[in-house]
Amino acid sequence: MSASLTIHEASPSALGLRRFITDRTSLGCVAIVLVAGLAALFASAIAPHDPADADLMRRLQPPVWQAGGDWSYPLGCDGLGRDMLSRLVFGARVSLGVGFGVVLVSSVIGTLLGMLAGFARSAINAVLSRVADVLLGFPYLVFAIGLMGMMGPGLGNIVITLVLKEWVVAFRVARGETLGAREQDYVEAARALGCPSWRIMCGEILPNILSPVLVVATIRMAHVIIMESSLSFLGLGVQPPSVSWGGMVADGREFLAEGWWVATLPGLAILVVVLAINLASQGAREAFDPRLHR
């Protein structure tokens, strides 16, 4: 009887996942984003007060750790006496919602167009690539501020503006990956078997280009959140009574001297969420990159 030798060969993605979830920083960052996401989803259940409930008696009431603070308004109140905590919770809706929504829509549009351009390599490719180049050559915030300035503020217009600029990122990734994938043997084989083009694209190419598209999408979400908050800060974003973190920072500008927390806390919320997304996606890239773990 010979001793049997068993080798547990885990798949690269399982190994990557194991590396990712054993990394404490990445895990902590994912937790932060999840908490913020849950707060956004269940804002009405979590927020202790109505975010629009103003009472000038509570005007600029400081946070609980400062003299004059009160546990019923733990993070204090803003210049109109509205509860900061509740406003932060509701603000997460706009920031994360726009971030997630814009990246989702742009990734779908960009990936489909990118696959089409990369696979067809004809006039479609030439036209789409030129359009993408020109859009990419337009400074991001200048484009967003200019277009929002023309269309006027509002949630819908923000999403349209950012998607118009953002799809290019997914487009370029998907197009590049498709150009590489279409030369592979499995695509050749599918074509030899007589598969129609759309089935090759959806069935063979899409699964193979999905992970780079997803990685880029997570990083872009951080960027989109900053863009949305910048537009809202300038007053071009969502309009009251909707709450956004960028708009809250703008509200706090007049009270820098008397109430530092009004402008500081929502900015801190943006920083923490964006930093968490950036760190988590950096961790994911390192965990899933086989070249780093030979």
Binding site: R130, G146, M148, G149, G152, S229, S230, F233, R253
Partner: protein, 334 residues
């Protein structure tokens, strides 16, 4: 080299036309009648409305409007600012020096902070210096610029009173205008007090604009230094007996700089957008603040002109960076 420059200039033509097209497309995105929106509550006779409509070319069919827009843009004619009662270009020209001064100061600061830090972090990879620099850079790219500006204002203006809260100068009498850049003009006219005042006003907005850019530059420089340090020619230079310092200065710095330059040019795009926000926060009398005011005043011709100006500047700077990249890295000649 001359051929490369010429090629580059020729390539610019379609890009610039496309840029004008995007800006034109933006202007058609206004909901409703722009004339009515611009007039707002002001009373105007139908004749005045018609005259304004004609003046802005809104009475023409779309295709003709586009051709006339391109034609006028190429001639620097962006119409009149309804609000200022002057040609748009004049209004912009008045505000331009302040913006240029701020942008130059921020770029110099960002290069001065980002590149040496990136070099240091790359050379000391994995050590505490690197870790501290890398974490600061990550925070720098994750921080919204408007919030950084307000924090700096809160700390250094409101609490410490080191710097003024806003504006470009505290003096009524500015130094004789030669370059229109206050820092340089005050030196030229030999007025140290005016120089110090201009510098104190410039400090916070410039730092606010510079830090995020420095963070990006630091990361790029660090990555390319790490790359270059692995290269064979660096090993060869060391084996030849060159001192570490000489290798760093002669070989590593030059080769690691090329990616930093192209990223710096791309970052100018972020700087142009950021400048609209920073100028608004610090009440800096430049073009960025002008365009934000114009948006709220529904002064569409002005918004249009500034957006086009910024986009064109960005395209030109990118081409310049491409050429510079070729000089720094002669292997890239294609």
């Amino acid at each position: 080299m001359t051929i490369r420059v010429l090629q580059r200039v020729l390539q610019l033509i379609p890009v610039l036309l496309a840029t004008i097209m995007i800006v034109f497309a933006m202007t058609t995105a206004t909901p409703g009648d722009p004339i009515q929106i611009m007039l707002g509550d002001q009373r105007a006779t139908p004749e005045q409305v018609a005259a304004l409509r004609h003046d802005m070319g809104l009475d023409l069919p779309l295709a003709e409007r586009f051709v006339s827009f391109v034609w006028r843009a190429l001639h620097g004619d962006f119409g009149r600012s309804f609000f200022h009662r002057r040609p748009v270009l004049d209004v912009i020209a008045d505000r331009l020096p302040a913006t240029i001064e701020l942008a130059l100061a921020a770029t110099v600061l960002a290069l001065g902070i980002g590149i040496p830090l990136g070099l240091l972090a790359g050379v000391r990879r994995g050590r505490p210096t690197d870790r501290a620099a890398s974490i600061s850079a990550l925070v720098g790219v994750s921080m919204p610029g408007f919030w950084l500006g307000l924090l700096l204002m809160l700390l250094f203006s409101v609490m410490l009173h080191w710097f003024p809260v806003s504006g470009r100068t505290g003096y009524g009498d500015e130094p004789a205008a030669v370059t229109h850049l206050l820092l340089i003009d005050s030196v030229l006219s030999g007025r140290p007090a005016a120089f110090a005042d201009a510098l104190r006003h410039l400090a916070l907005p410039a730092i606010t604009l510079a830090l995020p850019m420095a963070a990006v530059l630091m990361r790029v420089t660090r990555a390319s230094v790490i790359d270059v340090l692995r290269a064979d020619y660096v090993l060869f230079a060391r084996a030849k007996g060159l001192s570490r310092r000489r290798v760093l200065l002669l070989h590593v710095l030059k080769n690691a700089l090329a990616p930093a330059v192209s990223v710096a040019a791309l970052e100018i795009g972020a700087l142009l957008g950021g400048n609209m926000i920073v100028e608004t926060i610090f009440a800096w009398p430049g073009v960025g603040r002008l365009v934000v005011e114009a948006i709220f005043a529904r002064n569409y011709p002005l918004v249009q002109a500034v957006v086009l100006l910024y986009a064109v500047v960005f395209v030109l700077l990118n081409s310049l960076a491409d050429l510079l990249y070729g000089v720094l890295n002669p292997r890239i000649t294609a």
